[in-house]
Subunit: 346 residues, 2 copies
Amino acid sequence: MSGTELNDRAQLLLKNLVERYIRDGQPVGSRTLSRDEQVALSPATVRNVMADLEDLGLIHAPHTSAGRVPTSKGYRLFIDNLLTIKPLNRGTVSTIEKQIGSSVDSNQLLVSASRQLSDITSMAGVVMLPKHEVAALRQVEFLPLSSRRVLVILVINEREVQNRIIHTSRDYSPAELQQIANYLTQLCAGQDLRQARERLLREMDEARATMNQLMADAIEMAAQAFATESSENDYLIEGQTNLMSYADMGDMERLRKLFEAFNQKRDILHLLDQSLHSNGVQIFIGEESGYEVLGDCSVVSAPYKVDDKVIGVLGVIGPTRMAYEKVIPIVDMTARLLGNSLNQLK
Amino acid sequence: MSGTELNDRAQLLLKNLVERYIRDGQPVGSRTLSRDEQVALSPATVRNVMADLEDLGLIHAPHTSAGRVPTSKGYRLFIDNLLTIKPLNRGTVSTIEKQIGSSVDSNQLLVSASRQLSDITSMAGVVMLPKHEVAALRQVEFLPLSSRRVLVILVINEREVQNRIIHTSRDYSPAELQQIANYLTQLCAGQDLRQARERLLREMDEARATMNQLMADAIEMAAQAFATESSENDYLIEGQTNLMSYADMGDMERLRKLFEAFNQKRDILHLLDQSLHSNGVQIFIGEESGYEVLGDCSVVSAPYKVDDKVIGVLGVIGPTRMAYEKVIPIVDMTARLLGNSLNQLK
DNA sequence: CATTAGCACTCGGATTGAGTGAGTGCTAAT
DNA sequence: ATTAGCACTCACTCAATCCGAGTGCTAATG
């Protein structure tokens, strides 16, 4: 057992052990394993193998006379090599399809996707908001509010609307604002928000002398309005409360930290970002994720695509001890269905 | 002790008992109370009085030989008659002022208000979204999306912007849409959304024969677009996780139900609605609220006003055993400050 | 007559110790 | 290589016990 390869017997035992542990939540001992039909071995032999597995860091005994429990490394090996994925139940697919299909706008779509994930798996479902790599500006509207405050409406990508309020250095009449908006719309339509902003700033520097005051004002305002606030960098989460039912989530304090991480969003977002360039379902087990708060959680994630281009990630978060063989296909399928639906909406 | 009035001594003892219990979280016994300087009585006497208080249902012993704990009724009497409210700490006021004052749009304002409430009290802070009793339509814009889907932008009340997507029976050209939007803007500007909708529908019935097709289409669309989705019926909540630190919140299951109620929003909203017509701080203690999930929670709420008109409610939710004398002025002050700030933004 | 001292009693919580059972590692036999 | 046997470990459960805080009642007291 030189560390690199596990013989068949060891693999079989590990597989059985992990499956049992996931099912019952109890450390599993040699007797239990040896009673299994597929394992035609005496407890003693099983013990020997288990000792080896423990040396390899795949399983571990919570205390001297308890059974063994998989470590993260054990889960990893199990998932990568031993897991037999359950084909998706017919009904489940159509449930997801129906729910997701009935959404009319893209936001509703994302909400129902995360809700589906959470409902079906009884864990927490997350859906990252889609990244529009092309943020093509379509139209700019200005509306005067009270003194020196102007509402800016940006229509982006045929679909998305952003509202911002900017402060101006003097009051403008509705007519002036209209004029400025038209000027900007015409100037920037079809361009990326970031690029448009940079180009405008350059232009202002170069042509400062020649342009009229209103144009200068317009560009000034645009610079403010286009400040790319990243509403993109965000996600939806549903069913957090499901996690409160799992005993293995440890004490209240851990759970609290976890929930705070959900609110903070930063860490979770970084984690999801890592799946952005993966090709299919990806799994982070416990501390593997690199985030303390996710200590005894696993994250099963998958990128979703529109036009064969990955634009976001979705997944579920739950206890390490979860039914991977069911969760993986669910996440996979949901990602596909979400992609399809987004495509149709486009 | 005929039930209606408590003599001074009994009141003093109740006051002390509640204060002590709130401070220490332990049932308080006769010895402890008699040791208090203000109470110059022997434990035995205290016991007699406590027996009376228990008969009145104001306090209650968790078990034979524990001290006494206030009941909801006891808390109620304490709060209504015995509580000496702490004047607000100077620093606290300016903290709230600073935080709230630095918000530029109304939504940010509400967020920072609820965050302040939660931060300062270490409980959960809620802020109901303001009810705009006058939802005066200001401008309507239509933008064509892909086939038969149209983005509607409604600007309401100088400040608020709503985006909706409607489905049309055929494709319209941008020019047509522009025309329709202009027509509607001109027709409905300044009117309440609901009224406008009704009037339009009536008009359509009456003048169906005489109007041209485009007008008819316009009204048809407006009917769809104005469908008053009540984004009003909602609230923000911050610092839910704070509640997880309180031991008295009972077991995980209760807490889970509570969190689900926060997500559901319905019950909490009903409760807050009740404060909408109260004049100042209102307090719901435990089961008083009528909602099972709030079993061992209290809600301290206050309406906030713009132009002397109540438009919303804010408050905190925490364990029944909270420092009311501090929380009450905080909620009160935050409501005032939020009102002021909203006024300035207007 | 209100207050208090004294006393017997109750009950929850912490501590202890024995018993149980699932599990282990090691060794010797197969 | 596998297995049977054995001594050992250790968490968990349960009952017994003790302790202390608190109570209600009664009789004494100013």
